[in-house]
Symmetry: C2
Subunit: 194 residues, 2 copies
């Protein structure tokens, strides 16, 4: 991993950056005809995975519900924004999170462990982070298409040129248990002053 | 229950009626910006609950996924179309289906057992079927609003003047186990010749 992104040097997102990313995600959802309450709009989660390079490695989320049994979210990705590689391990006697991604708008490239796809990835790999990606089985989803990721399976995904909106239907989400390939990653976004 | 709707006299939906309801539901989804694959469009489920009065008592469904752990659907209701009262009982050691309804377009009235809402129902009760409705706790959802129905809780719902599209996020769906208040109901739609 390159030194310039070591945790000690990490710059955290500012409240202003969070506000801008929320507004941009809300505009994307609105353009796709997906209605939110004002409370939902104001609390869109902006995840930078502790890397503070949101436009490259990040994700915006609206969590509709997350009970012990069911979870549903909208994921908003800006153009070529990437959700880093991770898996959802077993917990509390369950096999771990089972999740289905359904593309609502734009295009999303999904990579899962398994047989590498010839020529993959069509997505643009962040140049400084090649070591943090190991899964090359490629699935491309356009609006109306979906894909199920089994529990404890390494996966990462990236939006196409116009970004993407993806509905996620899953079992309980326990983000704090996610295991990322990149050891620098912290799932909880940290805020800088200002 | 009135004799004219007794099972022996039941008229089944024709393939033509199913085709028309599918096309109407697909047009509603398209107008709401919800993309389907052509295979999904061609297989929209038309549920008449064995009553063959689809415009009054019926539901159109797109089942995105239904695994042992997670289920997601779009429900399409025509104006004032009603899903009859039912509950999802425990099965296989689970508490039964937990489901969240999120309104995507139009308006939906949901009725659950519990404290009756003063003046309920705002929905139009099918005249011949008053005995088949007992739950009067009213929740009205507009686009972006949602409501969770706990397992084994009696509930029914009806669309407003312009119909409704409702996303359902739930645990496994086992329709054949549903318990309806109206003893005439069969969850599986039967087809007439024709």
């Amino acid at each position: 991993m390159p030194d310039e992104y070591a945790p000690a040097d990490r710059i955290m997102l500012t409240p202003q950056q969070i506000t801008e990313a929320r507004a941009r995600a809300a505009a994307s959802l609105s353009a796709a005809g997906i209605a939110l309450t004002s409370a939902e709009r104001d609390s869109i989660e902006v995840a930078d995975f502790g890397l503070s390079r949101l436009d490259e490695l990040g994700l915006q989320l609206v969590v509709y519900l997350n009970t012990e049994r069911v979870c549903a979210k909208e994921l908003v990705l800006f153009p070529h924004q990437t959700c880093p590689e991770h898996r959802h391990p077993p917990f509390d006697g369950t096999p771990g999170k089972e999740e289905t991604f359904r593309c609502r708008a734009g295009l999303v490239y999904i990579y899962t462990e398994g047989e590498p796809t010839h020529g993959a990835p069509a997505a643009r790999l962040p140049e400084h982070d090649r070591d943090a990606f190991t899964a090359w089985h490629e699935t491309v989803l356009r609006p109306g298409e979906q894909y199920t990721i089994q529990p404890n399976t390494l996966h990462w995904f990236q939006a196409g040129d116009r970004g993407a909106i993806v509905s996620e239907f899953s079992t309980q989400s326990r983000d704090e248990l996610d295991v990322f390939t990149d050891p620098r990653i912290e799932r909880t976004t940290k805020l800088a002053d200002g």
